[in-house]
Amino acid sequence: MAARSAALKVDWAKITTSLGLRGQTVAGLQAFKKRNDDVRRKVQQLSELPTTVDFAHYRSVLKNQAVVDEIEKRFTAFKPATYDVSRQLKAIDVFEAEAVKNAEATKQKVDLELKDLEKTLANIESARPFEELTVDEVAAAEPSIDEKTAKLVSKGRWSVPGYKEKFGDLSVL
């Protein structure tokens, strides 16, 4: 009874607290634990019941010996059914390995994401204010600005389309 011993070893309270589980997961876990307990209790009760039948007594009391014989034959033929749980256990093991692997992968992904977010946060915190931004930096980030400037100037256009509408006209006339 390997599964049973494993179930006994599990510290249910610790699972919830150490993993920091919440809500539906906790409820599901508790339901699972309750089912486990119930089944175990039932097994206990059933195994404590007497399993021998006094057929000699029945044979002396009852007239119809054939029925008793029949029942005795059936009774001695009865064997408790045994379930081969090794396949399920194997499946559970595979599932567990898979789950652990998934969890590891998720952890790595979350770690990477965290690092990225921390980098972004540091970037945001160390960024200079917008007032300090220079044209050279913008042009370095967006090379098309220099290209556009050269194109406009070489075509003899000295105004940027849409600029006046957005930033207003500083003309004093």
Partner: protein
Amino acid sequence: MPQLVPFYFVNEITFTFIILAITVYILSKYILPRFVRLFLSRTFISKLLG
């Protein structure tokens, strides 16, 4: 009037035209394109911000 005495006319006009030509060259090559560049980067930034 002293400014009508022709002795230095050529000198004056030479200076004027040389300086005006240099000014036009420097303005159109270096100074005015900087304004266009500034306007372009402003429009670019404002497009980024939405």
